[in-house]
Amino acid sequence: MNTRPLKDLADIVRSKNAGPYRITFDILFKDKDRYEAVRATGAISAESVARAYGIDVSQVSSFFEIDMANAIKITIRRPRAQGSSGDGDMYGCQHHVPLMLIAVPVG
């Protein structure tokens, strides 16, 4: 089956702190059709996100599909707290790339 990276199918893929101990990812789609098409493949899940970042699925703290916004939202626990020694991304805003490269099956 053919696949395409999520970035080719989503309008916006972004990461950001949700408090000092979490990073939250938002995937927003241009319209309901694209949102539902990607959602239906099941390619974006707590498990696939954990795999993309090489973490245990227990580190994924939540996964939401948000119909009213044509969006999928995933939140993970930070390996180290924001601003603690060794943290490389104070705002958590440059963590989206492994997510946007997840392969999504297309027809």
Binding site: P20, L28, I55, F64, I66, G83, S84, S85, G86, Q94
Partner: protein, 447 residues
């Protein structure tokens, strides 16, 4: 209930807004100007050090425009989480700027300041009484952690701000406040549905980030009987269902549930409706008051002092050997300075500098930017350890070395830079209180 319009000039006071957008927004007849000035987002430094997030120059310039606009229209100006973290020194620093503005502009008004500092002993009593709940820190708050905490604040809800409005305040300079409470306070004080006012506050607190194109700029929200209406101040922007719905996901984990001081808001039944080209109507938030009233504590402690060195690496043989070199110089530094604890971190840009262990890619790199970071109990020790590591790396011998004259390209002399004190979050927990206002004293001054 009459419609109540809130004008929010920008997402963070000091980050700017358009003069035209403010003028147009004011022409729409807002009942209040309300803006947020802080967050934990820039990191624990501002809470720990008391230094301001934004310069006095920018804060004063923007506050001057807002206070002048507010006084001309006879409406209050409310600023929350002033200084970046809302600590006592930051409240005082901002209040000083407001006094200067009153004098320089020849304005007379009533200033209310609201402190949000929590005495360490008060929090320790709560620990002992079992009245602290972990929020997301993953570890319990302890008396020991509180003893190490240099600044402790709590996020106020809308109630202390309403108290200041009861007291006739024209300008409210509030310490740490829940972002949405700053915006929601005035509408709630005037009798608006708290669920709608707080949901609107959550969207408005980022200014025109909920508009398209997004920016730090003016946004207006009008609370009506059973809905609220959003509109950007600038006619060069519009609110769309997509921009508002997208923004309602931003910087938060749960898109359907919004917890705040004393309440929880259920957003699962919300709807967004496009009104004309530039406005969006939002309905459906439902509020439940929690049985007990909890406030969120934010504390910072001194983690030590930091020194860093920045260097480039271009040689492919060094880049190939880099992981082993870093492990070895780190180990030798720890041995050298033992028993004094030094924390060593490497940011390997071009490798995994941004995401560290979350980085899945391992492609070989042409050039590496290396930041050596050392945190120790005092600045002298941090500097010594940083220089020990950068020097050891510079002249490190490894198998297959082709260039024996130096492994690091330093852009600076001195190679090692002292960054001063470093703070870490020490409290991010919920504390039970008896009343919403007990921890947030309001003080008035007639200027």
């Amino acid at each position: 209930m009459a419609a109540i319009t809130v004008l929010t000039p920008t997402g963070t006071l000091g980050y700017g807004f358009g003069d035209d957008a403010l003028a147009r927004g004011m022409s729409l007849g807002p009942a209040v100007i309300a803006v947020d000035a802080g967050s934990t987002d820039p990191g624990p430094h501002y809470l720990g050090s008391g230094k301001p997030l934004v310069s006095d120059v920018s804060i004063k310039r923007e506050l001057t425009a807002l206070i002048r606009a507010g006084r001309a229209a006879g409406i209050p100006v409310i600023v929350g989480s002033v200084g970046g973290a809302g600590s006592g020194v930051q409240v005082e620093r901002t209040a000083r700027l407001v006094r200067e503005i009153a004098q320089e502009q020849g304005l007379n008004f009533r200033l209310a300041t609201i402190r949000s500092d929590i005495p360490i002993e008060r929090a320790k009593r709560a620990v002992a009484a079992g009245e602290i709940v972990d929020f997301e820190a993953g570890t319990p708050l302890t008396a020991e952690l509180l003893d190490e905490t240099v600044t402790l604040v709590a996020q106020m809800g809308h109630e202390p701000i309403c108290e200041a409005l009861d007291g006739g305040a024209d300008v409210v300079i509030a310490g740490r406040a829940c972002d949405d409470s700053v915006i929601a306070a005035f509408p709630i004080w005037r009798g608006a549905d708290p669920a709608l006012a707080i949901h609107m506050g959550k969207i408005l607190e980022c200014g025109a980030f909920s508009a398209e194109p997004f920016a730090m700029d003016v946004m207006l929200g009008t609370v009506e009987e059973d809905s609220f209406l959003l509109e950007p101040g600038s006619t060069a922007r519009r609110a769309s269902v997509k921009s508002v719905a997208a923004h309602s996901l931003y910087e938060r984990e749960n898109p359907f549930k919004q917890s705040g001081p004393g309440h929880e808001i259920d957003l699962s039944g919300c709807s967004f409706e496009q009104v004309g080209e530039r406005q969006v109507r939002v309905r459906g938030a439902k509020l439940t008051e929690t049985t007990d009233y909890y406030v969120k504590l934010e504390g910072a402690r001194l983690a030590g002092y930091r020194s860093i060195a920045i260097a480039g690496i271009r040689c492919p043989t060094t880049i190939r050997a880099l992981d082993a070199i870093l492990d070895d110089v780190r180990r030798k530094a720890l041995d050298y300075f033992a028993p004094a604890p030094v924390a060593v971190a490497f940011h390997v840009y071009g490798g995994n500098g941004v995401m560290k262990e979350l980085e899945p890619e391992t492609a070989p790199q042409r050039e590496i930017g290396l930041v050596i970071e050392v945190t120790a109990a005092d600045q002298e020790l941090a500097h010594a350890a940083c220089h020990q590591i950068s020097g050891a790396m510079l002249h490190y011998h490894y198998p297959g070395i082709i260039n024996t004259s130096g492994n690091l390209a330093f852009p600076y002399s001195p190679s090692d830079l002292d960054l001063g004190p470093v703070y870490e979050f020490s409290a991010y927990h919920l504390m039970k209180v008896d009343t919403p206002t007990e921890l947030f004293p309001v003080r008035y001054e007639d200027l």
